[in-house]
Symmetry: C2
Subunit: 467 residues, 2 copies
């Protein structure tokens, strides 16, 4: 019998109070309202590292949810991802306070220039000793677009075209501008860097133009580990080219099996091994020593959950203002480029006719995706079933009441998963990519690695033609 | 007799090896090549806080110096501000490791949207407990412009016009979007924020358009303490409106007296008190227990200084490629919008005819601005003369061999300045602005405060008209 497959575990968080399971900031033991304090983040990182978590994954959004009731008011009232601080700035201090855990940070390709963001992410990779992942998003809420002077978001597929070019520029800066041996810091010969091993990136595309060297010397990973969550057809094509880890949000292992298969098939079409992409599913959990304790905990938490926050969030995810419908009025299919999958989920899944009442009934803990509730053994069984039945590689665990949900998981579930051979007993050495994939840098057949290798060949050819 | 005037002291640093005194990274005791490590920054912050420094001021540039010899090669060889990492990301961890010291970080208004940067700086102000200053620059090197898709920098005065509007947007986001009592975190009533006390910023200008709420709740200072270093006519007008601290780089107290007077007069023309602006001068120091020890230290340091790095830096500052001139050939005046003052300094000061030889002769320690060298007593005398003769408020002390230069200053000079009543013996309470100016938020007659107060009046008027 082969060794059981080990799973990846990430704490799923956001630099705000209400993230996915809305309203729980109001629970007396919840500390998420302290997100403006570095102590809060350091504690989180230390607990997660005690549990050998692979990464802390930080979601982000650059605008407010204002579709529901045509106003940001419900989001503000319930603290649903607003106020929300910049996610990158909490990472270095968590890295300083830990040794091994990685950090996945969400940054959109739609609001800044790749030359500037590439530098910021390289800096983060340096400061964390190569523990950084980038969750690539293109942004979808119009409120963010209106913040940066647009009337609305650029249309969905064009955003991905722009993101493709954004990544091209980023790869060129990260992977081709500095050779590995360009930085010498040779005190004897007084040579800091070898100019012959640093070259400008010259990019002239439809959306970006760059003629500059990358401002940072090569960081441990060069390109951060690339995460992506696109579930539309275009998004999945983007993921197949760029992503090393893909997030999915499916409700059950059975329902997600085909989604995971499609992700892996798309990777193959992009010339990669189906398992070059780690598929990570979001799964909220409420765990107790016994099933009864878990159910009591759910009841306690649930008393603080916010349906209004969940509706505000889901209205922006779908682009549908649910306040406009009577409780039992069928919600018609609305073509929404911004977030196809969420709309399809409520309008086409199981050919079920959705109403606001049904949506509300599906909200167990301030989110339309219910938590799995059970004893530590049952939670471990459930996670195993995701791996075995749906072929996923691991989990983003959204917080409920924090940090106790993480402490509970680390204390109760991690030892069981380790006992069953499903989770590591110590960190692998090296940068985040090495821990996850066995090599610190992008490797062929990844698109970015091929782009890098092609540039090297071209560079060699140019050098030969000069010689 | 009145109490002697106390001085502000900032450590002047940059997220790179060679900052101002080029080449010193090659000194065996210099640690600046470790700028990619958080331990390096934490140590720096702790030493500076031990010396009760007001702030660590971090310069930045988003491009490489490539005017000298028409190439980035001299800068790369000598590590002259390249590679250079993002300055913001090292700040939170330094704040985590300290209690009181402030941080001035340099960010250009030319490479990103104010809606995005305002959020990042608010986050930093939250995480540091209100210890953040923003050194506003507009960028001047063409290499940075070419990184973000332009052929060259936008012309000097237009950059400042854009920066003026950038600041308008930033003030609106920081000062007017959220009322002080908007964030409730009321667990009992389950109200996170009061929507009636959060309003969108609606800005429609020549360069920016915004229709969005600020994504962050009010931080301790709201607007970070504003630093600026513009010395052109347009730059000084900008400073008079926005800056709370202005940097100057003059060579001697006598030569700088008129510069300081003009800064204060410009402040008065902008409706402010002349001393509402703290004038901070950059002054490199080499200090010893005795004058002899200081001179020996200078000789030791100087053996590692780089004339080539200084020329690369100064060529980009002036826009003049000094490699194009014979050693004794007069350097003609070149009108250079990008950095008027630096060019004027070498072409018009003292009506002296400059040559490359004269420039090289003026480079004592890898910079065209020489260090002051002396015993601790003499250094203290010199700093006092700056305050008394040139009417400056304090100093940015560029590093030489780091961190020993800072340790030397803290151990040898700070006690003397304290003894003479010229430097504080403990930190004042509160955020950085409160420590420097006695109040944590922008106060009238500052332009940003007037803009805020006008918005409040308008808001009140609108509320009354609705009622």
């Amino acid at each position: 019998m082969s060794k059981p497959r080990q799973m990846i575990l990430n704490a799923f968080d956001m630099n705000c109070a209400g993230h996915i399971n809305h309203g729980l900031w109001s629970h007396p033991r919840d500390r998420s309202a302290e997100f403006g304090s570095l102590d809060y983040w350091v504690n989180l990182a230390r607990v997660a590292e005690r549990g050998l978590f692979d990464a802390i994954f930080i979601a982000d959004i650059a605008g407010v949810y204002d579709v529901y009731k045509g106003s940001p008011a419900p989001s503000l009232l319930t603290g649903a991802q607003v106020p929300v601080n910049d996610p990158l700035l909490v990472v270095p201090t968590m890295a300083y306070a830990t040794q091994n855990i990685g950090f996945g940070v969400t940054v959109s390709t739609s609001y800044e220039h790749p030359y500037i963001l590439a530098r910021r992410l390289s800096t983060l990779d340096h400061l964390t000793g190569g523990r950084v992942g980038w969750n690539i998003v293109t942004g979808y809420v119009d409120s963010a677009a209106r913040g940066v002077g647009r009337d609305a978001q650029i249309d969905h597929d064009t955003r991905y075209d722009i993101a493709d070019e954004f990544l091209d520029v980023a790869y060129k800066l990260w992977e081709t501008s500095w050779d590995d041996d360009a930085l010498l810091v040779d005190r004897e010969r007084r040579i800091f860097a070898d100019p012959d091993k640093v070259r400008p990136v010259r990019h002239q595309g439809e959306h970006y133009r760059v003629d500059a060297i990358h401002m940072c010397a090569p960081s441990p990973q060069r390109t951060p580990v690339l995460f992506q969550a696109g579930s539309s057809t275009r998004g999945r094509r983007f993921a197949a080219r760029h992503a090393e880890c893909v997030f999915t949000f499916g409700p059950t292992p059975a329902a997600n099996r085909s989604v995971v298969r499609e992700i892996r098939e798309e990777a193959v079409r992009a010339g990669r091994d189906p398992y070059d992409i780690r598929v990570i599913v979001s799964q909220s959990l409420v765990v107790g020593r016994t099933r009864k304790e878990a159910e009591e905990k759910l009841a306690d938490y649930r008393a603080h959950a916010s349906i209004e926050g969940a509706l505000a969030h889901f209205s922006s995810s779908t682009g549908i203002d649910f306040a406009k419908f009577d409780l039992d009025e069928p919600i018609p299919y609305v073509k929404n480029d911004a977030n196809n999958s969420a709309v399809e989920a409520i309008t086409t899944r199981s050919a079920q006719v959705w109403t606001v009442r049904k949506i509300i009934d599906s909200i167990v803990l301030g989110s339309r995706v219910p938590p799995f509730v059970g004893s530590a053994e049952e939670v471990a069984d459930h996670l195993e079933s995701w791996v075995d039945d749906a072929d996923v590689d691991g989990f983003n665990l959204p917080r409920t009441v924090t940090p106790e949900c993480l402490e509970d998981f680390v204390d109760l579930v991690v030892p069981i998963l380790q006992e069953r051979g499903r989770f590591k007993r110590e960190y692998a050495p090296g940068p985040l990519r090495q821990k996850l994939f066995g090599h610190p840098r992008l490797a062929a057949p990844h698109y970015g690695a091929r782009l890098r290798d092609a540039a090297r060949v071209a560079d060699g050819a140019a050098a030969r033609s000069v010689a």
